[in-house]
C-alpha cells in the first residue's frame, strides 16, 4: 500500500477500533498505539522521501497515486507529497502523538474524545497529502468540524460560545474557499474535462482579472484559519476554552493548514494576482505580527498568552508567504513547523500546570520552578524557542523569514520587514514576563509543595516535542533544503509573470 494512503488509513482504523473499545485503558492503548504507528510511518516516509531525493529523483511530487473519483467533474483522489508536505505530515504525527499522551487523563467520555481527536488528525493528514482541490477541501472541513465537539464537550470556560465562534469563523473562511476553488476550477484554461488537480491547474493560466477576484478569496479563506488579522479572534477564545490536546492540535497543526493552503493553493495557482495584491495582505499580516505580540504582553491567562502569540507567529508565516520568494517561503514552512512544535509544547504544559494549580491566570501562580522543575524547564525551553533562541527551532525559522523578507529592496517591504522583525523584542518581553511571574519568584502557596511531579506520559509528551524543537534548531539544514527543493514549482510560476 502506498505509504500516503496508509497515513489516512491508520488513523481511520484507529478511530474505528476505538469505537469498539470499552475501558479507558483499552481506549488509551489503542489511541496511543495507533498514533505511535503513525509517527513511525511518518518517519519512514521522511526516510523514503530523503532517500528518493538523494537518489536523484527530481520529480516535484513523490509517492503519487491517483484514483478517479468523480471523472465527469474532474475530481480524483490524487495524492502525493513534496518536501513541504512531508515536513507537515511529520509535524502532525509528532503533535498528535504527544497530544494523545497529553490527554492521557481525560476521563469524561474518553472514547468519543479520542475518536474526535483522531478524526481531526485524519482530516489534517488528508489535507496534506491531497493534490486535488476538492479532496483537499473535503479534508479541510473534516478537520475543522470535530473541533466543535471537542471544544464544546470537553472544553472549559465559555466553551459553547468559543466552540461556535471558532467553527463559524473557520467555516466562514472555508466558504470563501469554495468560491475561490470553484473560480479557479472554472476559469483556468484547461482543455477538455476540467480538473481539480492542483498540479494540472498549476500548469494552466487563469486570466488576471479572474485572479484578482479569487486570490483574495483563497488567501483570506485560508488566512482565517491561519489567524490572519482581523479574522483571528476565534483563536484566543477557541484556544482558551479548548481541552489541552485540542489546543495543541489546533494551534500546532490546524492553523498550519492556513499557511500551507495560502502557499500551495492561493499563491501557486494565482501567482499574478498574488504579486499584484500581496501588499494589501502584507499590511494585514504585518499588523498581525506586531499586534498579536503586543496584545500578548498584557494578557494574564496562559492560554490567551499563547493564543495571541500564535497570532503573532502565524502572522509571520503568512507574512513570509507574501514575500513571494524562495527563502521566505522556506522560512514560512519552517516557522509553521517550529511554531507547531512549540505551541503544542506550550499548550501541553499549560494543561499539565492547570491540572495541578487549577488556574491559568499567571498572577495567581508563582514559584513553580521550585515545585515543578521538570515542567518549568520545559516551559522555559518552549519560551526560548518562541523568542527565537539559536539552537532551537524558532530561530531557524525566523531568521530564514527575515533573510527572505530582506530580499526586497523597496521601502514598503523594508518597513514591513523591520516592523515584523521588531516583534522579536516584544516576544522576548512577554515570554520573560510569563517566566518571571509564573515560574520564578517565591513559591506562591504552601499547597504547591504537594503537587505531583511530572508523570511518565507527561514526560513523553513534552520530551518528544522538545526533541523536535532541538532537532530542527540544531540541524536545520536537511529540513530547510528539503523544503527549498519543493518550492521550485511555486517560485517558477512567479517568475513567469
Amino acid at each position: 500500500m502506498n505509504i500516503l494512503i496508509s497515513h489516512i488509513v491508520v488513523p481511520t482504523l484507529t478511530a474505528l477500533a476505538l469505537m469498539f473499545a470499552s475501558t479507558q485503558k483499552q481506549v488509551r492503548t489503542i489511541a496511543a498505539g495507533g498514533m505511535t504507528i503513525q509517527l513511525i510511518q511518518s518517519l519512514v516516509l521522511l526516510y523514503f522521501f530523503l532517500q528518493e531525493r538523494a537518489g536523484g529523483n527530481e520529480t516535484a511530487v513523490l509517492f503519487t497515486q491517483s484514483f478517479s473519483w468523480y471523472p465527469s467533474l474532474g475530481i480524483s483522489f490524487d495524492i502525493g507529497v513534496d518536501g513541504i508536505a512531508v515536513a507537515m505530515i511529520l509535524l502532525t504525527s509528532v503533535v498528535i502523538f504527544t497530544g494523545i499522551f497529553a490527554s492521557w487523563e481525560v476521563d469524561k467520555m474518553y472514547k468519543e474524545f479520542f475518536i474526535s481527536l483522531i478524526i481531526l488528525a485524519t482530516g489534517v493528514y488528508g489535507f496534506f497529502v491531497s493534490l486535488d482541490l476538492f479532496v483537499l477541501f473535503l479534508f479541510f472541513e473534516l478537520a475543522v468540524i470535530p473541533m466543535y465537539l471537542l471544544i464544546g464537550i470537553w472544553g472549559s470556560g465559555p466553551k459553547e460560545y468559543a466552540a461556535m465562534k471558532l467553527t463559524l469563523m473557520l467555516m466562514g473562511g472555508s466558504a470563501l474557499l469554495v468560491v475561490g476553488i470553484l473560480g479557479v476550477y472554472f476559469t483556468s484554461d484547461v482543455e477538455g474535462v476540467r480538473t481539480f488537480n492542483i498540479l494540472v491547474l498549476g500548469q494552466h493560466h487563469i486570466p488576471i482579472e479572474m485572479q484578482r477576484i479569487f486570490f483574495p478569496m483563497l488567501f483570506i479563506g485560508f488566512g482565517v484559519i491561519g489567524a490572519l488579522f482581523p479574522f483571528h479572534t476565534w483563536s484566543p477564545d477557541g484556544h482558551s476554552s479548548a481541552p489541552t490536546a485540542v489546543s495543541m492540535l489546533h494551534a500546532g497543526v490546524l492553523m498550519k493548514l492556513g499557511g500551507y493552503g495560502c502557499l500551495k493553493v492561493a499563491i501557486f495557482l494565482l501567482p499574478e494576482a498574488a504579486q499584484e495584491m500581496s501588499w494589501i495582505f502584507l499590511v494585514l499580516t504585518g499588523i498581525s505580527v506586531i499586534y498579536g505580540a503586543l496584545a500578548t504582553v498584557v494578557q494574564t491567562d496562559l492560554k490567551y498568552i499563547n493564543a495571541y502569540s500564535s497570532v503573532s507567529h502565524c502572522g509571520l508565516v503568512l507574512f513570509a508567504i507574501l514575500m513571494l520568494n524562495k527563502t521566505a517561503y522556506t522560512g514560512a514552512v519552517l516557522q509553521m513547523i517550529s511554531h507547531g512544535l512549540m505551541t503544542a509544547l506550550f499548550f501541553a504544559l499549560i494543561g499539565m500546570l492547570y491540572s495541578r494549580t487549577k488556574t491559568r491566570i499567571i498572577t495567581e501562580m508563582g514559584g513553580l520552578m521550585k515545585v515543578l522543575p521538570f515542567l518549568s524547564v520545559c516551559y522555559v525551553i518552549g519560551g526560548l524557542a518562541s523568542l527565537g533562541l539559536p539552537g532551537l527551532s524558532g530561530f531557524v525559522a525566523e531568521m530564514t523569514i527575515f533573510v527572505g523578507a530582506f530580499e526586497h529592496e523597496d521601502l514598503f517591504h523594508r518597513v514591513a520587514t523591520i516592523i515584523a522583525i521588531s516583534s522579536i523584542v516584544v516576544t522576548a518581553v512577554y515570554i520573560l514576563r510569563v517566566i518571571a511571574i509564573l515560574l520564578m519568584g517565591p513559591v506562591r502557596d504552601e499547597s504547591y509543595h504537594n503537587f505531583p511531579k511530572a508523570k511518565w506520559f507527561e514526560k513523553i509528551a513534552t520530551v518528544s516535542l522538545i526533541v523536535g524543537i532541538l532537532v530542527i534548531g540544531l540541524t536545520p539544514l536537511w529540513l530547510s533544503d528539503m523544503i527549498r527543493e519543493s518550492l521550485g514549482m511555486i517560485v517558477d510560476k512567479l517568475v513567469l509573470k
Partner: protein, 472 residues
C-alpha cells in the same frame, strides 16, 4: 394503444394497483387486524419501489400527455425511496390509539399523493401537470389534519388547503395567460417567445410551483404546516412533495421554458438569495424542532435553486443528486424527531438536551443527518452542496455563489445548535433511554447508510449525470 405504451406508465400502474390492493385488504381486515395493513402497505410499497428500478424504456403515450425517460424514472425512484422510508417510520404513530382504525386511509392518501407526484413528473401537458400537482396536494392536506384531536393539526390543514388553493388559483391564472399567448397546452408544442404576457404568466406559474418548493416569498405556510402536521406528514411534505416539485421545476425550466431562460434565471437568482437567507434567519430562532426543520428545508430549497439556475445538464444532475441526498438526510432527522415525539412527546430543542447520554445512537443519527444537511464532509450532503455550488459557478454566478456559501455558514450555526443540545448541554430530565421499533430502526439505518455511502460512492452521481446528459 399498445401494451408497450401502457408499460411506460409502470410506476403509476403499480401505485394504482397498490391503492386498490390496499383498499381490498382494508375491507377484509377486522378491527383487530388493522395494524396488519401497516405491514401490507410497507410490503406493497417495497415491491412498488423495486419494480421502479427495473429497466424501462422512454417514450410518450396518450398522445403526448404522458412522457417518460430515464431521468424521470430516476426521479420517481428517488421519491419512492423517500416514501418507503416514510412508511417505515409511520408505523409507531399509526398504532397510537387515535389512529388504529385509520391506518389504511393514511397509506391510501399517501399513495394517491405519490401518484400525483409521478404524473406531475411525467406530465406532457399542462393539464396533466396541474392534475398531478393537485393530486399531490389534496390528499396531503387531509393527511395534515390527521391528528383530529389536536387543534394544531387542524390549523395546519387549514393553512395548507387555503394556501394551496390560493396558490393554485394564481398558478392557473398564469397558465391561462400562457395558454392565451401560445394556444398550446402540450409541452412538446408550446413555443414561448418571451412576450411580456408570457413573463407574467411564467411568474404566476412559477409561484405555484414555488409554493410547493417553499421558495421565498411563497414559503410562509411551510413552518406552520410542518409544525402542526403529524410529523410523518411533515417529512412527506418536506421531502417527497418538495422533491417532486423541484424535479418538475427543473424539467420544465430546462426544456419548456428554455426561451424564457433569461427571465427565469433572474427570477431564480433573486428568489434563491431570499430563500436561503430568510430560511436561515428564521431557522436560527426556532425552538420547536419541526419548525426548525421547516425553515432549514426552506434554506435547502434555496440551495437547490442554485443547481436549477444554470439550466444545464450539470445543474440538473446536481439538483437530482442533491434531492437524493436530501431525502436521506432530512428523513433521518425527521426519523429521530418522530421517534422521540412518539416516545416522549417532545419536540423542543431544550428537550433534546443531554440526549447523547441516554440515547447515543439516535443522537449520532441526528448529528449525521444535520451535518449532512449542513454539508459537512465526508457525508453525502457535502458532496451534494459542493456540486450545487459547482453548477452555479459553472454558470458564472459568482456573487450568488458567494451569498450561498455564506448562508451555508449560517445554516451550520443552527444545525450545530441542535448538536450542542444533544451532546453538550446538560439536562435535569433528558429523554430517557428507549428502543424504537424495528421499522424505524431499519429506516434510520437506511438513511445513515445513504448519508455515508452516496457521497463516497461516486457512480451514483456519475450515473445521474450520465442520464441528464443523455436526456438533455
Amino acid at each position: 394503444m399498445t401494451v408497450q405504451e401502457l408499460l411506460l406508465m409502470r410506476h403509476e400502474w403499480a401505485l394504482i394497483a397498490g391503492v386498490l390492493i390496499l383498499l381490498v385488504l382494508e375491507l377484509n381486515f377486522s378491527e383487530e387486524q388493522k395494524s396488519k395493513s401497516i405491514i401490507s402497505a410497507v410490503v406493497i410499497f417495497t415491491i412498488i419501489t423495486l419494480l421502479g428500478f427495473l429497466p424501462a424504456e422512454s417514450g410518450s403515450t396518450f398522445g403526448g400527455m404522458y412522457v417518460t425517460d430515464p431521468v424521470r424514472l430516476l426521479m420517481k425512484n428517488i421519491l419512492n425511496l423517500g416514501v418507503l422510508i416514510i412508511f417505515l417510520q409511520a408505523g409507531s404513530w399509526l398504532q397510537t390509539k387515535n389512529n388504529y382504525n385509520r391506518v389504511t386511509e393514511f397509506y391510501l392518501l399517501m399513495l394517491s399523493s405519490v401518484i400525483g407526484a409521478n404524473f406531475m413528473i411525467s406530465a406532457g401537458h399542462f393539464l396533466m401537470f396541474y392534475l398531478g400537482l393537485e393530486l399531490l396536494t389534496i390528499p396531503i392536506t387531509a393527511a395534515a389534519s390527521y391528528d383530529q384531536y389536536k387543534s394544531k393539526s387542524a390549523e395546519a390543514g387549514i393553512k395548507l388547503i387555503l394556501s394551496s388553493a390560493f396558490s393554485s388559483a394564481i398558478l392557473l391564472f398564469g397558465l391561462s395567460m400562457l395558454y392565451g399567448s401560445t394556444g398550446e397546452m402540450y409541452f412538446s408544442e408550446v413555443r414561448f417567445s418571451n412576450d411580456l404576457i408570457q413573463v407574467l404568466g411564467f411568474v404566476f406559474f412559477f409561484s405555484g410551483l414555488g409554493f410547493k418548493i417553499s421558495i421565498v416569498p411563497f414559503h410562509l405556510w411551510t413552518a406552520d404546516v410542518y409544525e402542526g402536521s403529524p410529523t410523518n406528514v411533515t417529512s412527506y411534505l418536506s421531502v417527497v412533495s418538495k422533491g417532486a416539485a423541484i424535479f418538475v421545476l427543473v424539467l420544465l425550466l430546462i426544456n419548456l421554458f428554455e426561451p424564457l431562460r433569461l427571465v427565469w434565471q433572474q427570477v431564480i437568482y433573486g428568489t434563491a438569495i431570499f430563500t436561503m437567507t430568510i430560511g436561515n434567519l428564521f431557522a436560527i430562532r426556532q425552538q420547536n424542532l419541526k419548525r426548525f426543520l421547516a425553515f432549514s428545508s426552506i434554506a435547502q430549497a434555496g440551495f437547490i435553486l442554485l443547481g436549477v439556475i444554470g439550466g444545464s445538464a450539470l445543474g440538473m444532475a446536481t439538483v437530482i443528486y442533491f434531492v437524493l441526498v436530501y431525502v436521506f438526510s432530512n428523513l433521518a432527522a425527521f426519523g429521530v424527531v418522530i421517534a422521540i415525539e412518539q416516545y416522549a412527546g417532545k419536540v423542543n430543542m431544550a428537550d433534546y438536551n443531554g440526549l447523547y447520554k441516554t440515547n447515543p445512537r439516535l443522537s449520532l443519527v441526528m448529528m449525521l443527518a444535520l451535518f449532512s444537511l449542513a454539508g459537512i464532509p465526508p457525508l453525502a450532503g457535502f458532496f451534494g452542496k459542493f456540486f450545487l455550488f459547482t453548477a452555479v459557478a459553472a454558470s458564472g454566478f459568482y456573487i450568488l455563489l458567494f451569498i450561498a456559501v455564506l448562508n451555508a455558514v449560517i445554516s451550520l450555526y443552527y444545525y450545530l445548535l441542535v448538536v450542542k443540545a444533544m451532546f453538550i448541554s446538560k439536562s435535569e430530565s433528558p429523554v430517557p433511554y428507549f428502543q424504537s421499533d424495528y421499522p424505524t430502526r431499519i429506516a434510520l439505518s437506511a438513511c445513515v447508510i445513504g448519508i455515508i455511502v452516496i457521497g463516497f460512492y461516486s457512480p451514483v452521481f456519475e450515473y445521474i449525470k450520465q442520464l441528464c446528459l443523455i436526456s438533455f
